[in-house]
Amino acid sequence: MIQLHNATKLYGTVIGVNDISLELEPGAYGLLGPNGSGKTTLLNLITGQLSPTMGTVHLFDARVSHDQQVLGQVGLCPAMDLLPIAVDGIEWVKYMTQLYGFSAVEAAERAHAALDLVGLDDARHRAIAGYSRGMKQRVKLAQAIAHEPQLLILDEPFSGLDPVARHDMTIFLREWISRGKSVLMASHILHEVEAVASHYLLIYGGRLLANGTTDEIFGMLEDYPREIEIVCDDAARLALLVQQQSVVDSFQFREDGQGLTIITRKTLEVYQQLPGWLEDQQVVIREMTSSDESLQALLEILMKIHRGEI
């Protein structure tokens, strides 16, 4: 479906995307990364908005610059907010649908169907200028799906949405995927991406840090140290206990002095052995957290690896 081979995009001397190679089969993908990591640039390369400075980008086995018809299989919901325009929502979606080559009548039918699907009811006959953020997001989504594309590309779809709208968006995307369609969703709101996609592309500094399911990526990171944060009443005593253990690579005191941060490559063994270390030691553990099992932690680890910190 999507193929990039050593794709690089430079804006003058600024690197937008740096030597990315990947092949994506139809499915649901989450493109994760902090702001400025190159997510939007990557999406723009895939949709043909930008041409790669080096390398190639193929979409459905075609280069967009050579075969624009392939864009008929793609629907894009960009991050940019719609500016207020004095056009009705239905008119605008119909116009956008006509630009896929549909007749006015068919475009109108598809526009209405798409707006029904995204839940924009009577407001569709009002000017977009009077829409709320959530309604504008629905209109943006409607114009992206009205022509029934195979691939839906969304850039920060949850941005600015209230919790109800986010829930609705999540439900919609799950239904979309269940119909056999593909989704590529760029976001920095990780738990919402996790709710929709099972396959992740982690990007940072224009580089693709990891590509796979959560298990596959965590599997890659087995040999990298993780952090376990422990809040206790006697950090010094705990430090004495921990430093003798071979499963612990290192530790450091928390800034507030109320515990330790343990760094280890063998997280599971630490969990298993910790009760034994504390037996009869009268050290009370108040809190123990490890964010390593979430995508957030995964991204942080990968970023540290990328920066050479670990």
Binding site: G72, V74, G101, Q143
Partner: protein
Amino acid sequence: MKPQYWRAVFTHEWRNSLAARRFFSWCFLIGFPVLIVGLLRYTQRDNPDPMEFLAWGAIVFVLIPGICCMLSLLLTAAPFLQAELEGRSWIYLSVRPGARDALLLGKYLYSVSRTVLMATITLVICMAIGGFLGEFRYLLAILVLILLGSLAYGAIYIFIGILIPRRAMVVAVIYSGLEFLLSLFPALINRLTVQFRLRSLLIGWMDWENSPDLDFFASSGLFSEVPAWQHVVILLTMTVVLLFLAGLLLNRREYIAIRDE
């Protein structure tokens, strides 16, 4: 490119153009030449030596195929890309197959058709007020000049709009001023201007070449007596070439949304 692509753009632009908020621009562009001609008529009412038809004809030529068309195209053709970039709708358009060409052709045809319609309405009213509605030859000549001028200037402004999207209108105004001045130079350069061609066509079609009032123009080479078809061919060629180049540029350039500056 299938016709429905550019037709969608064309229809969309026309629908927007007829909205209430655009009413003022229609009134202004139709109204100001009518007002000037009306005031002229008023100044001439007691004149024992009224203005000759040639003078009226020259004034209407300057007003309608000149300024009225230029202003209309300045509003619609020059900022055609700037409007999409500032309105952040470019990204929606450019991700559609063939949308760039559709946008170019659709907006160009919209701006030309709007300009021709507006100028025609203005022309008829001005000629009625001026009292020379019976001059059919002149009426036809000006109608053709409106069409040719709109096609040519529309292409030029569209090209400027793609070349310099952020400053399209300012550059188009500078270009128009420069072109008008260059068209008055008795040298080869004036033959490259649209104004020269339109002027020559009008003088030729109205048989004004030998009018003593245009002696200065004739002696200074400010119009040409070559056959009219040559001027028409040159104007149409210029139009086609510029549109082709505009299409090439539009498809090859990468545009990102710009701030409204």
